[in-house]
Amino acid sequence: MSSQEHPHAEFDVPPLTETIAPGTATDPDVKSAETTTLTVDGHEVTVPEGSTVLDAVEEVETDEYVPALCNYDREDIGPRSECRTCMVETNEGIVPSCSTPAEEGLEVSTDAEAASEARDVNLDLVLSDHNLRCTTCGKNGRCDLQDASIENDVEEPRYGVFDDRDAYEPIDDSSDFIQIDRNKCILCNRCVEACNDVQVEGVLRMEGHGQDTRIGFQNGAETMEGSTCVSCGHCVTVCPTGSLVEKGLEDAATLPIPGFNQKNSVGKVIESSDVEKGPMTPMKADQVTETSRETGGDAEERQWP
């Protein structure tokens, strides 16, 4: 017996996935199933059901700082567990604390060398792909990456920062409400989850792979203006960096140096086309699942050496 026509005949496919295509994996549940007691750097901590190791880590004064940069853990957003700056040592090896269930009797230590090295290296790796221009950034002073870097005593990121004018993505200034500067995106996925799982708007998605991974739009539009965004602003609220900023606040926190602002910091800006806009939700993701399905192999993208 075979069922080529209906390959999922035997399963209840969740209806939401038919119209919303965020481009991200369906992760398993990574929270504890019961109240657990564990030790963190020698302190005993009891955390309720539904906790991760990070919840326990945050309860105590730890020996070393654990940035946990991409963690959000509110409104059912996350853990995306992509930045890996929350690594801690346990009796089961080093684990990402944000997405490891709290487990009875687990012994967690933050100052073990391997975990400490991993947090430092991974934070520097995040910075290596970041257009670090805090002085012209609208999130200066209220940015999770800035806070984590300061707290982690980053002085000279070991891989430098992303500073290649030719490779910058243009700032998307096309929407009346939200500005996108992907050169500052850490791919934490919070905006995608806020947009899809909380607002159920189905506008934003994760797209591409490797160095081309970026946030994009489910209707295939190139700009925020062409997307189906309803300007609810939720994505901006959750964004930890200067990647998504409310219009009008792009320069709110910058130093008043004449001629030097967020919009010209990158050099390329996509402006609004100022055309009359149709209804704000012309199309959801109806065609996207089929038309943009990932195909193809591994292109050799860069010459060696």
Binding site: D12, S81, N122, G208
Partner: protein
């Protein structure tokens, strides 16, 4: 009986059919494409092999077979054998040792349930018998969620969990899996049927790469012809990219996601797999070994595919053999080194290592069953550099240590060409990529560089001094300088 094996067999077989009433059948590849199309004329317990046969060769064989008074043309190899339902291994380049799980490749019509039934027969073993006989089979390859671990415990875990379990046959990417899919799909499906009964699965998904059309078509035909398969079977395709074989990306593809990235773990697919249901993911090789174990075959053998600067072959070795036999079977005699164990295997010059997970792991080599030969003029520094760049270009993009780590690793390796060889910085990055990446892609990606540094340190140092001992990089650099000079004169 005349068999014609391998790609291009149809045309050759058609020519033979013109000339004889003796049955002429197309069979799958033998795993040795270098001798194919291969005509095998079997008569009275003797098989004569004709390598790289043309339609003319096939005609001359066909015109005499079955005629007791006329002798067959001189063959490239001849084997006297019992009728075993398995390919009698000829003394031809590319064949090595005896075959257990590959035994029927190149001997049976792949989509013929009758051929399979006659050769080994379909076994309706009860679930307990399957666990007893095959529970010790180790998962084969990086596409297997249970790689190098005994399968039985995984099945029992899935069986004991509430839900509607699924079984995924991961036949994506690995040449050994593709060979089994194309040449002996019933063995793969039989293994899946056994496991489906053990875990009481509601559906089996067979997952292939979109570019392996032959594997897909053969598996589809075999699934349709399979007598009383215990569940629904669906053959599904994923993109051909290497990462798409990762077990959780395979599940994402099975579910129909338009973009593939790895899922978090733990828990793994055995807890939350296809649509959140407990799921077994094994490779085609693992399932074929399971089917073999249930019928009492030796399952300690390993399927190894050799590729790179040599003739591609897929062979089967016993655990007392060494990977050298496989490399020799491919015809490679002179090489800089061999990347053992898959795209992100370990680079070595010493091939006296058994193909078992324990022996391979001791040498920091991989277990994915692919041996990639670097020819004698290949530069190991450039090789691992390109492999690092491949990791940077083709990862799924989810986690920082893999996505950004592989990019920075490639830059650090490029710096060596400019005289800056910062080994401490490189090994620090390798450690963190290995220990903190989400999936096996990023966890294994450092291995070619790590082993390359150990095995070819002198080459790395030479490059930092502006020399390439193999000459390859300097040739590239000279060519570049020339192009630049030319551009300047224009």
């Amino acid at each position: 009986m005349v068999r014609v094996a391998g790609r291009g067999a149809e045309e050759v077989a058609a020519a033979a059919r013109e000339r004889t009433d003796v049955p002429v059948v197309d069979v799958g590849s033998t795993g040795v494409p270098g001798v194919e199309p291969l005509v095998v004329a079997t008569d009275d317990g003797r098989s004569a092999f004709y390598a790289n046969a043309t339609p003319d060769d096939a005609e001359s064989v066909a015109s005499v077979i079955g005629e007791p008074t006329r002798a067959l043309p001189d063959a490239d190899a001849t084997v006297t054998h019992d009728e075993t339902g398995a390919l009698p291994v000829p003394d031809l380049d590319g064949f090595s040792g005896s075959r257990s799980v590959l035994a029927r490749c190149g001997w049976l019509r792949p989509a013929s349930a009758d051929d399979y039934a006659e050769s080994v027969g379909f076994t309706d073993a009860a679930a307990d018998e399957v666990v007893d006989a095959a529970g010790g089979v180790l998962g084969r390859g990086w596409g297997d969620w249970n790689a190098d671990e005994p399968a039985g415990a995984l099945w029992e875990g899935v069986r004991d969990r509430d839900g509607s379990p699924a079984v995924v046959v991961n036949a994506h990417g690995n040449p050994g899996d593709a060979l089994l899919a194309e040449s002996d799909p019933f063995a793969v499906l039989e293994g899946a049927a056994h496991v489906a009964r053990v875990v009481d699965a509601v559906q089996v998904f067979v997952y292939v790469s979109e570019t392996d059309e032959r594997a897909r078509d053969t598996l589809e035909a075999a699934a349709a012809a399979y007598p009383d398969f215990p569940t629904d079977v669906a053959v599904v395709e994923g993109p051909s990219a290497y990462r798409a074989a990762e077990p959780t990306m395979a599940i994402e593809a099975v579910e129909g996601n338009h973009r593939l990235e790895a899922r978090l773990r733990p828990p793994g697919p055995e807890v939350e797999g296809v649509f959140g249901e407990p799921t077994v993911v094994h490779t085609a090789r693992t399932f074929a070994h399971v089917a073999g174990a249930v019928r009492g075959d030796d399952t300690s053998t390993r399927v190894l595919s050799v590729t790179g600067d040599t003739q591609d072959v897929t062979v089967e070795l016993g655990e007392t053999d060494t990977v050298r036999s496989a490399v020799e079977a491919s015809g490679a005699t002179d090489y800089t080194g061999v990347l053992v164990g898959g795209r992100f295997g370990g680079l070595t010059r010493k091939l006296d290592v058994a193909p078992t997970p324990i022996a391979l792991d001791e040498r920091d080599l991989g277990t994915d069953g692919v041996l990639e030969v670097l020819g004698s003029d290949a530069c190991p520094v450039a090789f691992v550099g390109r492999r690092s760049q491949f990791a940077a270009d083709s990862n799924c993009g989810r986690c920082v240590p893999c996505r950004e780590g592989s990019t920075q690793l490639s830059e650090l390796l490029r710096d060596i060409y400019d005289g800056e060889f910062n080994e401490a910085k490189i090994t620090e990055l390798l450690r963190v990529m290995e220990s903190t990446s989400i999936c096996a892609f990023g966890r294994n990606a450092p291995r070619p560089v790590r082993t390359g540094l150990r095995e070819f340190r002198d080459h790395f140092e030479a490059h930092a001094n502006g020399e390439c001992p193999s000459g390859q990089c300097l040739v590239d650099a000279d060519a570049e300088a020339e192009t630049e000079a030319e551009a300047a004169t224009l």
